[in-house]
């Protein structure tokens, strides 16, 4: 069925695609900031069409809000229906609104932040492509297009993470992200095969309608398919143990980190699980795996975030942790709560990254928390934004993160049993969140101002004489492939200021969409998508939800207080603790040794296998036996035949005569 909603859906996809093409084709010619404005305009139009899509949907009655439309068929044969089709339903509209809305602000911020970079046009072309890929992913109407969008997002993340392609650390991080994402893509494809084998259709609506008829509860194929789908979700959403690319992805420009972490990419896994809820509800075994991994991730990431010293990496680990909440939520059936947290998280995480970008600008590219301090007076606006984002992240009332995170945890507590343990671990994670968030704030903004901050208070923005790689300290220049020479802070750039102000407001009031006992806007809006779900309609008593909210608020306050005591009131505590628990500190600072573990279990065996193939398979079997053997046979055969070619004409003639005579004689004899 096609109508104005799907028309707007196609337009939502078209805008960033046109944007990326136009910017890419004219990359040499766009003067000044034109490419940035074009990119922002494309996403703004896309956001406008998303709103139009939303309006059309709201004009239909709630049980008639799922539309799909296909432009053309790729393959339609017996049993395969690969079409270019989109699905416009409340979930995809919800995601499209978040993706385009937050991306638009990130584009706006980038116009300033990337101003003096030599790859300005290239940057915006990639950025638009990233948004386009994510929109393909969330609007896809069948598994086929979902996989396409999924792979596009991986490719776009590679392009943007290694945007400063002359930094060896950046290119390595890009490759790492891409490889792990491809690992997830393979999982997604195999999972799709498992599902497709039984449902016989790639179309979401028809496949989900078929699920109750073709699958029995916890059937082996279904569980396997769901586990493989989860593998894809884990790789994209940076869940343990496929998370190691995410902190390395901080090598990209800061707005890219905001884009990856807030609006696009990492939320894809959460979306996938929510979209596939009819499958996961029939396969609770797989859903439980998702919940446990989500819970594990949120604890692991939170503990690592406490000891990291790179400001962007701390925020990266906090993203992992928050995505853990969402994955846990949508896996146990708290769809609206998980997606609500996805939205509020998009607001405050984008805000935090933008504020971090502003501090990094003030520090002339330095990202280490050890070097920062006392920026409170020098960067008042950034400070306010960072505190708002931090309060929302740690779940302080009345900020948005408080309502959304505790919505998930209340659902877990309500389901009871083993889920209660996950819920309690979630509260532990929330406590850690308060600590690491305010560790960042106290270390960057409080205490004695560092020279850069003092300079800025006198109106002079610090400038590095020799730009250095923040990770390795290597000297760099400012040519294409490296960060540009300029540094920018929100206080002096109006596009950055506007983007951050909007997000700050949203981070504060975003929670009003869903307040227990008062309003449940998100749940009501998403209801048609989850109408067939058994778990989504679980009603939690308003009192229990408020109890959860109060507990959440107390835990957040406790976490922030601990951070205050350690980092402000008695600053000597932190080094003392570090010395006292040196072993634990080393374990956490090395990120639980996940990188080393993966290196040992996968990278090294793969490299060893590669060398084995090179030295044994390639050299001895292929090159030595098969190729050289064939050459030897041909050479020996031709040497024998060559001797017949004497070059004497009369010899050839004699052979001809003898041969023909023999043939004639044969026919003569055989005919008589």
């Amino acid at each position: 069925m096609s109508n104005s909603a799907t028309t707007f859906g196609w337009l939502v996809l078209l805008c960033p695609l046109v944007g990326t093409t136009v910017i890419a084709l004219g990359w040499r010619r766009w003067p000044g900031r034109t490419a940035g404005w074009l990119g922002t305009l494309a996403i703004a139009l896309s956001f406008g069409f998303s709103i139009a899509m939303f309006a059309v949907l709201m004009n239909h009655s709630p049980d008639d809000r799922i539309f799909s439309s296909s432009l053309w068929d790729y393959v339609v044969t017996a049993g395969v229906d690969a079409k270019l089709s989109i699905l416009v339903d409340p979930l995809s509209v919800y995601m499209a609104l978040i993706v385009t809305g937050v991306s638009m602000l990130i584009h706006l911020y980038s116009v300033s932040y990337m101003n003096e970079d030599r790859g300005f046009s290239r940057y915006f072309s990639y950025l638009n492509f990233f948004v386009f890929s994510m929109l393909v992913l969330v609007m896809a109407g069948n598994f086929f297009l979902l996989i396409v969008g999924w792979a596009f997002v991986g490719a776009a993340s590679y392009l943007l993470i290694s945007f400063w392609y002359r930094r060896s650390t950046a290119t390595r991080a890009g490759v790492k992200a891409f490889v792990i994402n491809v690992f997830g893509d393979v999982g997604l494809v195999i999972g799709t095969f498992f599902i497709f084998r039984h449902t016989g259709t790639l179309d979401f609506v028809r496949a989900f309608a078929a699920v109750p008829h073709v699958f029995t509860h916890n059937q082996a194929d279904l569980v396997a398919g769901c586990i493989f789908l989860l593998l894809g979700a884990f790789a994209k959403s940076a869940q343990v143990p496929l998370h190691t690319w995410l902190p390395d992805a901080m090598e990209g420009p800061t707005p890219v980190s905001a884009l990856i972490h807030a609006a696009t990419m990492v939320t894809a896994g959460v979306y996938l699980i929510a979209r596939m809820h009819p499958l996961f509800e029939e396969a609770p075994a797989a859903a439980d795996v998702g919940a446990i991994i989500g819970c594990l991730t949120l604890i692991v990431a939170a503990t690592i975030a406490i000891v990291q010293t790179d400001i962007k990496r701390v925020i990266a680990y906090s993203t992992m942790s928050q995505i853990g909440y969402m994955v846990m939520g949508v896996s146990v059936g708290a769809y609206s709560a998980g997606l609500f947290h996805l939205m509020t998280h998009a607001f405050f995480k984008a805000l935090l990254f933008m504020a971090a970008g502003s501090i990094i600008g003030a520090m002339a590219g330095v990202q280490s928390l050890d070097r920062m301090g006392g920026f409170r007076r020098a960067l008042p606006f950034t400070f306010a934004c960072f505190v708002i984002g931090g309060l929302a992240l740690s779940g302080m009332p009345p900020f948005s993160g408080w309502l959304s995170k505790d919505d998930i945890l209340a659902f877990l507590d309500h389901r009871g049993g083993g889920f209660l343990i996950l819920g309690i671990l979630g509260y532990v994670g929330a406590f850690l969140t308060g600590i690491y968030t305010f560790r960042m704030i106290f270390r960057a903004f409080y205490r004695d101002p560092v020279p850069e901050a003092v300079e800025l208070e006198h109106g002079h923005l610090a400038h590095a004489d020799v730009p250095r790689n923040p990770m390795t300290g290597e000297e760099e220049d400012t040519d294409v492939g490296f960060p540009g020479p300029g540094h920018f802070i929100a206080e002096r750039e109006w596009p950055m200021k506007i983007a951050m102000s909007v997000l700050a407001v949203l981070a504060v009031i975003g929670g009003v969409l869903q307040i227990p006992g008062v309003d449940s806007g998100v749940e009501r809006f998403l209801e048609p998508t989850f109408a067939d779900s058994k778990l989504a309609h679980t009603q939690i008593a308003t009192g229990a939800e408020w109890l959860g909210l109060v507990i959440g608020a107390l835990i957040a306050i406790a976490g922030i207080t601990v951070a205050y005591v350690i980092y402000i009131r008695s600053p000597e505590t932190a080094p003392a603790l570090q010395k006292r628990f040196a072993g634990i500190h080393r374990f956490l600072a090395n990120k639980w040794y996940f990188d080393e573990l993966i290196d040992l279990l996968i990278v090294r065996p793969a490299a060893w296998f590669g060398r084995f193939c090179e030295s044994v398979l390639e050299r001895i079997v292929i090159s030595g036996t098969i190729t050289d053997g064939t050459v030897g046979i041909v050479r020996a055969g031709s040497a024998a035949v060559r001797r017949l070619q004497t070059g004497f004409l009369r010899y050839y003639a004699a052979l001809l005569v003898v041969g023909l005579s023999a043939v004639a004689l044969y026919f003569l004899i055989s005919s008589s």
């Binding site: 035949v641 060559r642 001797r643 017949l644 070619q645 070059g647 004409l649 003639a653």
Partner: protein, 99 residues
Amino acid sequence: MAIGWYLVVSAIIFCIGAAGVLTRRNPLVILLCLELMLNAANLALIAFSRLHGGEDGQIFALIVMVVAACEVTVGLGLIVAIYRRRLPIDVDEMSELHG
């Protein structure tokens, strides 16, 4: 009509031609011997044509003559080219095209 005699004559001419091709070393003579062989074949064709009363054999003989004329043209051209380059006029000497 007794076809035997015609065929015997044809066979004798053919054998003379073949023997010439095999034994002589002068390319000019070899070409002449080739002509002998072709004409022997023509004789047999026309004899059979008369025997059966059809025209096919005669037409075929005419075509063979055309082909023979072409072949002689090319062959003589080659021989003239060899002569001009002052190479020995001897097929046994021209044995460079060996494996």
